[in-house]
């Protein structure tokens, strides 16, 4: 056994001497490897008894170590977060190939329910005492588990004809308590995936008592595009275009999140100018994301005019991203070790112009809505989630802050010198639809404030690091010198090779904590990339949020959660 590195591991080893296999600290992450037998006890201890307590299950994922020697076949990885001290700990539980089973931690955290279903779906790991262990992303009848290393990435399976029956009832499969039955006959209503308020590919089945929703089941996986499987066969640089399409409303932010994780495992620090540019594009993306989220939510509520106002502002920001990266939506702008192109004075003028339009749009829309009787009636005290539930579900971002928890990674674990900016973190008090929407309004103003500060103190200097093993050389070097040409050739053909290890990095995306867990085997391709999508826990909670409300409330609630299916299903 290794020496304990800090108090957490020390206490854990004292408490569970027979169960902790190993503990270490690498890349700033604390890792504890434990035997699977008492996983629930260990995690309960971390959640409830240890100080500081880790009250949040931020992520739960699986890894298949088929190609690693001296390693158990599977591993279930838990990432915990303490909201008080913002410490993080990673707990790994190895599972053998013969017995890929482990106890479910869903009694501890509500978030575990869907996470464990995903691990079951993708890896075939069985969670004992899980209330509803069935596939979540793939369809019923799919054979095999796609993220296992021995499942070929291109092995396609036709959907069984039984699935074509859209009235196929998933409500039957959800676990309900005995008291959950209705005195009268209920009606089953299917909403989505092709429904204007379902934002693309989300589906609910609700059991109605009159117009009141008695029970609801969310079905996802209609936009599963195998991001994680693709990442395993791409070089680190090639993964970046895929990250664009996770949360396509704010693609630059996803790039930055992934590059941040790879830079963490490489141990490189990007130049100050690149950092500042990343802050600018991240905040621009946050504004763009909130604009679409709010515009779409208002359309769903029947307030179409606001959509036109907001999209006008978004169009102006598109002009800036287009000048910066050559594309409007999927920009592929960030590079590992910096950014692709420098920000020009022309773009800075463009951003200032866009802000004028944005200010006007925010003002116009707030005037139309803030004291609008219909809007208030439909959003206030609708879809309330308590602080405790939100934490248990793993909420992050604007939705968590709407419940009154001021957790923002930019403030609490600052990266890219966010602590040097003057901005506020808006919080709500009731945790209802109205709060979730209004928090986003204020966040747009704060993001604009950050960008303005960043533009005034944009330092001169390079926008890429100068490590020939990581950064592509400038084009003039590639065409002008033999070293440049060889350097370019080596990076393009061989890729970037981080050291063997694992890293979890979190950035504050528009929807909440966007985490990337990367396992590297020292080669040019990541062994495993896990994306922790911010809206996965939000969607998991939506089933319970809509129960007891009307059908019209469901529309308002889904709109306020900002479910982006690209990152939800990956």
């Amino acid at each position: 056994m290794n020496m304990p590195h800090n108090n957490i591991t020390k206490t854990l080893i004292e408490k569970f001497p027979a169960d902790v296999i190993e503990s270490h600290e690498a890349y700033g992450d604390t890792t504890v490897i434990v035997k699977k037998g008492r996983i629930t006890d260990i995690l309960r201890f971390l959640k409830e008894e240890i100080q500081p307590s880790f009250e949040m299950l931020i992520d739960l994922c699986g890894v298949d170590y088929l190609q690693w020697k001296d390693s158990a076949r599977f591993e279930v990885v838990y990432h915990l977060l303490s909201l008080k001290t913002h410490d993080r700990v990673r707990v790994r539980a190895p599972l053998s190939e013969e017995d890929p089973t482990i106890d479910s931690v869903s009694p501890l955290w509500k978030a575990a329910d869907w996470y464990e279903r995903e691990v079951f779906d993708m890896f075939g790991i069985i969670f004992h005492r899980h209330p509803n262990l069935k596939r979540i992303l793939m369809f019923e009848g799919f054979e095999g588990h796609p993220l296992r290393k021995d499942y070929p990435a291109e092995k396609r399976q036709q959907i069984p004809t039984a699935e074509i029956d859209l009235l196929h009832l998933s409500l039957q499969n959800r676990h309900f308590s005995e008291t959950d039955h209705l005195p009268t006959r209920s009606m089953i209503l299917n909403i989505g995936p092709s429904h204007p308020a379902m934002h693309g590919a989300l589906r609910y089945q609700v059991e109605l008592d009159g117009e009141t929703i008695h029970r609801a089941v969310a079905e996802i996986g209609y936009l599963h595009r195998a991001f994680e499987k693709h990442s395993e066969s791409s070089t680190y640089t090639q993964v970046i275009p895929y990250t664009d399409r996770l949360n396509y409303l704010s693609s630059m932010m996803n790039n930055v999140g992934f590059a941040h994780a790879v830079e963490k495992i490489l141990g490189v620090e990007i130049p100050p100018r690149a950092k500042m540019i990343r802050v600018i594009v991240c905040e621009l993306s946050r504004i763009m994301d909130h604009l679409v989220c709010l515009a779409a939510a208002f359309v769903d509520l029947g307030a179409l005019t606001n959509f036109w106002y907001f999209f006008d502002a978004r169009e102006k920001i598109y002009d800036c991203t287009e000048k910066l990266a050559g594309a409007r939506l999927t920009t592929n702008y960030t590079r590992i070790g910096g950014v692709w192109r420098d920000i020009s004075p022309d773009i800075i003028t463009g951003i200032h112009k866009a802000f004028k339009v944005l200010d006007k749009a925010i003002l116009d829309v707030s005037r139309l809505l803030e004291r609008n009787r219909i809007f208030i009636d439909r959003t206030r005290n609708v879809g309330i989630i308590s602080k405790e539930d939100a934490v248990s579900y793993g909420y992050t971002g604007p939705c968590l802050r709407a419940c009154g928890v001021p957790y923002d990674i930019r403030k609490d674990q600052p990266y890219y010198d966010y602590d040097r900016f003057d901005f506020d973190v808006p919080v709500g008090s009731r945790g209802d639809v109205n709060d979730r929407l209004m928090v986003r309004f204020e966040e747009m103003r704060q993001s604009a404030k950050i960008i303005q500060q960043a533009l005034t103190r944009l330092p001169p200097g390079p926008i890429m690091i100068e490590d020939p093993k990581i950064a592509l050389p400038a084009k003039s070097n590639v065409y002008g010198s033999i070293e440049g040409l060889m350097n370019h050739f080596m990076i393009v053909t061989q890729g970037i090779c981080p050291p063997k290890g694992e890293v979890y990095s979190a950035t504050e995306a528009a929807n909440g904590e966007l985490g990337f867990y990367i396992v590297s085997d020292g080669g040019p391709r990541p062994y495993r990339v896990r994306c922790r999508p911010p809206c996965f826990p939000l969607t998991a909670s939506s089933e319970r949020l809509v129960e007891g409300g009307m059908i019209a409330d469901l529309i308002a609630i889904v709109g306020s959660l900002n479910i982006v299916v690209g990152e939800l299903d990956r």
Partner: protein, 158 residues
């Protein structure tokens, strides 16, 4: 001849089919089947700056029974495919299909176990739009192409 002289300057004569096609092509009612990134660009086309209503196709209907143009915007995977087929089957004739973006056209760079490699495996497609995602101008161009196609179809079958 006499009739033509009488109407000169006040009316035009043409085949009924062509007249109907002329009316149809300037009042396409799209059913936006948006699943992914492309749908966000479609929002841009509907919004004031690009303004799809200049081409008579701004009245989006989310009910397949009220629309005659199915616009598939975004990735279609095997779980989604039967639903898309059903939506197409529910639309009344005449109907047209636009496949927007690389994913709907060919699966794009998602060549994997989950993604359908082009919607033309399950529904007939009239116009494909390249791009990932296509620019709004691309969508407008596809609309114009479809309008030309509707005119030509009416002229072709006598």
């Amino acid at each position: 001849m006499g009739l033509d002289n009488l109407l000169a300057g006040n009316a035009i004569t043409l085949k009924l089919k062509e007249a109907v096609a002329w009316a149809r092509k300037y009042s396409l009612w799209p059913m936006p089947y948006g699943t992914a990134c492309c749908a966000i660009e479609f929002m841009g086309v509907v919004a004031p700056y690009f303004d799809i209503s200049r081409f008579g196709a701004e009245l989006v209907r989310f009910s397949p029974r009220q629309s005659d143009l199915l616009m598939v915007m975004g990735t279609i995977n095997y779980k989604q495919a039967p639903i898309l087929k059903r939506i197409y089957d529910q639309m009344c004739h005449p109907k047209w299909v636009i496949a927007m973006g690389a994913c709907a056209t060919s699966g794009g760079f998602y060549n994997n176990y989950s993604v359908l490699q082009g919607i033309d495996e399950i529904v007939p497609v009239d116009v494909y739009i390249p791009g990932c995602p296509p620019r709004p101008e691309g969508i407008l161009n596809a609309l114009v192409k479809l309008q030309e196609k509707i005119t030509q179809e009416a002229r072709k079958d006598v």
